[in-house]
Point group: C2
Chain length 131, copies 2
Amino acid sequence: MNIGDVAERSGLPAKTIRYYEDIGFICPARSANGYRQFAQKDLHKLTFVGRARSLGFTIEDCRTLLALYEDRGRASADVKRVAQQNLADIDAKIADLQDMRATLSHLVTSCAGDGRPDCPILDTLGGAPKA
Amino acid sequence: MNIGDVAERSGLPAKTIRYYEDIGFICPARSANGYRQFAQKDLHKLTFVGRARSLGFTIEDCRTLLALYEDRGRASADVKRVAQQNLADIDAKIADLQDMRATLSHLVTSCAGDGRPDCPILDTLGGAPKA
DNA sequence: GCTTGACCTTCCACCAACTGGAACCCTTAT
DNA sequence: ATAAGGGTTCCAGTTGGTGGAAGGTCAAGC
């Protein structure tokens, strides 16, 4: 398979696939003309990484997960630990965003949004700095 | 005020303040020794930007908001539009994260997390790629 | 007067995770 | 012959800063 095929099947842009090679996720063979020749296994790994990324795992998480994936004897507890950490990170992000949302939504609601200049949003942002 | 004072009062690291000067948010005077000399107005603007950033506004949003802030005649509708867009972005991010969270949480729950190698998390990530 | 330590300065490099673009090669069809 | 549509490399840019080196400045203590 050439990079275009793999891109289509994995759903990742070709650029990203080259990048993933760069950082050592895959190491496809090369044919005589220099084109990358992908094996099923490469496609598999790329799809794996694509899914993990879409679930919010970082690249380093993916590296860990790939190693666990390749290790037939790994304990599921190791995988679960990575996933749980990720879950906690996601929860923290959601909480942050919900805080922001609450404040901002309050400000938006209180702003008339008309042609006059008085605006509680700017007033709040520009409130007196501490001492 | 020197940069250290402004850092403390605005809550922003000195590095960040220099960066904000770089990108044109402020333009503090300089004293004979080359030190930045911050006026109240600079502190004000930095605090403004710090608050806006903590509400998830991008740097470019901040640029817009600062301009509106400085413009005594602006319409509050202009500000509201920026804030509403930000709110929509935040909502989209929250929805994304909640999707991730649901999937991942399901996977984590279904994984035994013991010493055995079978792991539904990896099984799902590694499932057969499309045709 | 000298040193010490806390400040300040600039500049350059780096982080994540790609993405865009230039300049060029390979293959196939017309 | 040439044009379209692959592929290749490499360099630079994105966002919003952060870390560190190398060096200038200032105030206090001895």
